[in-house]
């Protein structure tokens, strides 16, 4: 059967699934067709802290999954971090070229291998305004991956993540209250703060007093319910009030 035909069958099934169990079954089947043993469909968040609101579906060995959750690896997982620097699927063996790996990263990857998880392929899935996510396929340690099937894995990953998104949003988990709105002036001040300017420097740039800048930032912090401007900038970047392009614009 051609890869495109296999992909279309999987897509049709994923469109119809309405429950987590059905999606799990579909994922098991496609993982098998793609020549892998394991899959993981997840938002890149601390899954225990997220209390079921984040997408998470996998068939990793229990011991590994428990260890992973207990150590909140969802946020620091090198595979997840690597998926944030690319827009297309990548083999895990390429990670050292993609991101700097710390000693802890290497230890986590080695531990995964000890638990039987070998080479993998991860498809990044990012929907603006939501937590980043990905769909990974992995083989048992020592088993090669079928490189010819990776284009299909890319497509399957994209549709699988969207299928999971739909199921989780049907449960009401992905709907969030709208993010706080800043005034234009608050946003201007925050933009310059995120670019590393002090209140005094911002006051010169915007031709207002230093006290006014401090007040705008304080009010913006209050709207987001945070007390530090670093956290304010991060929250504003996450919800799209600020973009990286804004900050680095020359």
């Amino acid at each position: 059967m051609g890869m495109h035909v296999m992909a279309m069958q999987f897509i049709r099934i994923v469109e119809e699934v309405r429950t987590v169990d059905d999606l799990t079954a579909a994922m098991q089947a496609v993982t098998d067709e793609l020549g892998f043993q394991y899959f993981a469909l997840t938002h890149h968040v601390d899954v225990l802290a997220a209390e079921g609101t984040a997408i998470r579906l996998h068939n990793y060995p229990d011991r590994w999954a428990d260890y992973y959750d207990r150590n909140a690896l969802g946020v620091s997982d090198p595979v997840h971090r690597a998926s944030h620097v690319t827009s297309v699927g990548f083999c895990w063996s390429r990670m050292p070229e993609m991101i700097p790996l710390t000693a802890e990263d290497r230890r986590v990857l080695a531990m995964g291998r000890e638990e039987g998880i070998g080479e993998g392929f991860t498809v990044p899935a990012n929907v603006p305004g939501e937590a980043r996510g990905s769909c990974s396929f992995a083989s048992e340690a020592g088993q090669p991956i079928v490189v010819d099937l990776l284009p299909m894995a890319q497509l399957a990953g994209a549709f699988a993540f969207e299928g999971a998104r739909r199921i989780w949003s049907d449960r009401g988990h992905l709907s969030k209250p709208p993010p706080p709105a800043l005034t234009d002036r608050q946003r201007d001040c925050l933009l310059w703060a995120a670019r590393g300017k002090t209140d005094w420097e911002i006051s010169r740039i915007l031709s207002v007093t230093e006290e006014t800048v401090a007040r705008h930032i304080k009010m913006a912090c209050a709207r987001y319910g945070v007390s530090k401007r670093t956290l304010l900038a991060i929250r504003a970047l996450f919800d799209g009030t600020l973009t990286f392009t804004d900050i680095f614009r020359r």
Binding site: H4, Q154, E162, D239
Partner: protein, 205 residues
């Protein structure tokens, strides 16, 4: 306001279309570095911008460009069949009721929140336009991150082939099936327009 227009691109027409060609230059040439023709150093206009193209242009109260898209009939030469046929497992779809969406453009001057609103309005307008004009499917070519967003709009998408890396970018050809359920699917995925498209739509010569 939503403008639905058909017109020759040369000479560059006034109003919403002129603003759109300038916005396209800003997005596709200046930002995305596409190697496409530019007229007068200001307007991005290619060989498909002719009397056969239909434009959906979302403009603010002063006629400023917010978002736009170009629709090409698949019964004539279009981008998928002219340049990216290899992205399709079978022949690219060609039918009087199938149009290709190209140059989906969100103005660079918009904030992230405004972009999202403009995007959702334009996506809804595309579905409404299809329903009003007997279009049953759109085709398109997308880079992978944009493809993931297109899927997240909730409408029914099909890949026309496997993704391929072309000139260093992974691309996929897709079709979007439009029927009476599409508006409900979009709304269920949270894609809602900021304006009443029916009331605002007008057809210009």
């Amino acid at each position: 306001m939503l403008h639905v227009m058909q017109t020759a691109a040369r000479p560059i027409p006034d109003g919403a279309l002129r603003a759109m060609f300038a916005a396209r230059k800003s997005v596709f040439v200046d930002l995305l570095k596409w190697d496409v023709p530019v007229i007068d150093g200001t307007y991005e206009v290619d060989q498909f911008d002719d009397t056969h193209a239909t434009y959906l242009v979302l403009a603010d109260g002063e006629g400023g460009h917010l978002a736009s898209a170009r629709l090409l009939p698949t019964t004539r030469p279009h981008i998928l069949d002219s340049f990216y046929g290899e992205l399709c497992e079978e022949a690219p779809p060609q039918a009087p009721d199938v149009f290709e969406i190209t140059r989906f453009c969100l103005d660079r001057g918009l904030s992230a929140r405004e972009r999202r609103t403009a995007r959702d309005t334009l996506v809804t307008a595309l579905a409404e336009h299809a329903l009003a004009h007997g279009i049953t499917a759109y085709t398109a070519i997308a880079e992978m991150p944009w493809f993931q967003q297109i899927l997240a709009f909730g409408w029914r998408c099909r890949p026309l082939g496997l993704p391929q890396v072309i000139d260093g970018t992974m691309l996929v050809a897709l079709s979007i099936e439009i029927d009476a359920d599409t508006p409900t699917q979009l709304a269920a995925a949270g894609i809602v327009p900021s304006i009443d498209i029916h009331a605002a739509a007008r057809v210009a010569a």
